[in-house]
């Protein structure tokens, strides 16, 4: 008995330690965003200047705007493509199922940097060969992002779809409703949490992506992660810290709000990332 109490205490101590490890860098970024000294490594006093300075920097505004545009479009496109595919493949015993699953799996297993360089070659050559194909820019960034995001949507939505059983859909079809009506009235309401989770994850993945973006962009398209990377190399980044602090607070508030909403509504919390 004493043994298991010790074990429990050790594990709890370890758990709290790892959680602290996870939040240490975030705490450092937040602290330095209030640092009066521009050289990040010295603390010389408290200031809110960086928040106004960051807000007024046109380059950051532009980069944030571009990232936001790409992330929103990416979430919409990936959710539509991914959900449609998940519906078709969820329960179908079709011959497409295996090759399609392999493809989805491949998009997630091939290292990001390999997808990134392959996309760069392809986009450059496609533009050279076909004038209607866009040159490197925000459109090619978006195209690269959708590959990953739609795969994530397929996985999340399909696992929910197969998990919830098909009897209601079969009843709906038997009673003469078409696919559209069945989807809107029967499937969508039950699938919505998974679709929303997929869309949110797509948005986040796109908004935060650096490697795919940098390889599929031309010099004058700077997304927010690209701006961060470029500035961080020189080490002077209080304004970047300030924006990151705001974004962290937004995410934390959003998560807290969602958690409050979910636990209040059903008492049974939604599961993990999906």
């Amino acid at each position: 008995m004493n043994d298991s109490a010790t074990r429990r205490r050790l594990l709890t101590g370890w758990g709290i330690l790892v959680l602290l490890f996870l939040y240490l860098p975030i705490a450092v970024v937040i602290a330095y965003s209030f640092n009066a000294n521009e050289a990040v490594s010295n603390w010389t006093g408290f200031t809110l200047d960086w928040f106004t300075r960051a807000w007024e920097t046109p380059r950051y505004q532009k980069a944030l705007g571009l990232s936001l545009k790409i992330a929103v479009l990416n979430a919409i496109i990936a959710t539509l493509l991914g959900t449609a595919a998940a519906l078709a493949l969820g329960r179908a015993r079709s011959k497409w199922k295996v090759p399609f699953s392999v493809l989805v799996f491949l998009t997630l297993v091939v290292p990001e940097i390999v997808i990134a360089v392959a996309s760069r070659i392809f986009f450059v050559k496609a533009h050279e060969g076909f004038s209607f194909f866009p040159s490197l820019g925000w459109k090619t960034i978006l195209m690269a992002h959708v590959v990953w995001s739609s795969a994530v949507v397929v996985l999340i939505v399909r696992s929910r779809f197969t998990g919830m059983g098909s009897s209601l859909e079969e009843a709906s079809f038997d009673l003469g409703a078409g696919p559209v009506k069945t989807f809107v009235q029967v499937t969508l309401p039950r699938l919505l949490p998974a679709i929303v989770a997929g869309a949110l994850l797509s948005f986040t993945m796109s908004f935060d992506n650096y490697v795919l973006s940098v390889f599929t962009a031309s010099g004058d398209n700077e997304t927010w992660p690209m701006a961060v990377f470029n500035d961080v190399r020189f080490g002077v980044t209080p304004a970047v810290n300030a924006i990151s602090t705001v974004m962290f607070l937004v995410v934390a508030a959003g998560v807290a709000g969602a958690m409050w909403f979910v636990t209040r509504k059903s008492g049974e919390p939604a599961d993990g990332r999906g």
Binding site: G15, L19, L22, V29, G90, V109, S159, G165, E170
Partner: protein, 318 residues
């Protein structure tokens, strides 16, 4: 007291049939697939062509680029002043160059550090997942899961950069403690573990959470030591989750670009940096393509070996 039934009694191997392809985190969280036997498809359902748009998209924007990458890897770059000229064909000289001294070292270095990072992630993350599943009250579980996920939702670049501030030998943290490991493999290792920990913890936590813990209680009642119960019941039952977690962590670590760039200061080369250099710096597309393909092939070989060995162990026990 002996425990003769532990190996064969509770049918460990079939309760959690591991799929040969490890489930990604989202799938690990989702429900089980209902299996349907025999007969044709039951009843009307959503039309199969709904998958066509995404399939087309993948063929054009994902498969075609990969094929083009292979074509470039087998091409040669002609030295000319007329810009980038390529001679396509079946030329393996790029691959020979890839496995030449310098680049071979980078490959070995990358895979050693990715393997070390994966091992460290398991050592740090498994006890955390175990604690979450076993010792956190069900009221607080949701909160702790979210605490693990929230950093994952905030900028990866910023969090990695923060480690640069923390590990800086002249800074307020490591500097004050007299630690100077920035721009070494140690800093990269910390960055790797930090960046990918949630990807390992979540699937493992999900499989620990789903596990039937009465089996462990039963084993202990029959006289098994906690360690033995852990090794013979907990570990095999959560193996699919551990496999998924380690793969989810190892693959991106081997292809990592940002972390070695920021925390290694470019002094400690990763394959990712070599590839980047061939496409954005020096610009030798055929060679860069060959390095990419080599990375993918070696990685696939690792993954296949790993999955096969894990499945074998599952079949024959320890």
């Amino acid at each position: 007291m002996s425990t003769p039934d532990l190996q064969t009694g509770p049918d460990v191997s079939t309760t959690s049939a591991p799929s040969p392809t490890p489930p990604p985190p989202a799938a690990a969280v989702g429900g089980a697939k209902p299996r349907r036997r025999g007969g044709k498809a039951t009843g009307p359902r959503y039309p199969a062509w709904l998958a066509a748009p995404l399939l087309t998209y993948y063929l054009v924007i994902f498969v075609a680029p990969l094929l083009l990458l292979v074509a470039f890897a087998l091409a040669t770059q002609a030295d000319s002043f007329a810009g980038e000229q390529y001679a396509f064909g079946f030329n393996l000289s790029n691959f020979e160059a890839v496995f030449d001294g310098l680049y071979l070292d980078v490959f070995v270095q990358t895979f050693l550090l990715a393997a070390g990072g994966t091992l460290a992630t398991v050592l740090v993350g498994f006890p955390l997942a175990y604690w979450m599943a076993r010792h956190v009250s069900s009221k607080r579980k949701m909160l702790v899961v979210l605490l693990v996920m929230i950093p994952f939702w905030t900028s990866f670049l910023i969090r990695t950069f923060a480690w640069k501030l923390i590990l800086d030998g002249n800074g307020a943290f490591a500097g004050a403690l007299g630690i100077d490991i920035l721009y070494t493999w140690k800093a990269i290792l910390i960055g790797l573990v930090y960046g990918y920990l949630p990807l390992f913890v979540l699937p493992v936590y999900a499989s620990l959470e789903r596990m039937d813990w009465t089996l462990v209680d039963g084993a202990k009642d029959l006289g098994a030591t906690p360690w033995r119960a852990f090794r013979q019941i907990t570990l095999p039952l959560t193996r699919p989750g551990i496999m998924a977690g380690t793969l989810l962590v190892f693959i991106p670590m081997a292809g990592e670009y940002v972390i070695p760039q920021m925390l290694g200061g470019g002094r400690f080369l990763f394959i990712g940096s070599v590839i980047q250099g061939q496409f954005i710096g020096a610009s030798n597309w055929p060679f860069g393509s060959a390095v990419s393909i080599a990375l993918m092939l070696i990685l696939s070989a690792f993954v296949v070996l790993y999955v096969v060995s894990a499945l074998k162990e599952e079949q024959f026990g320890e």
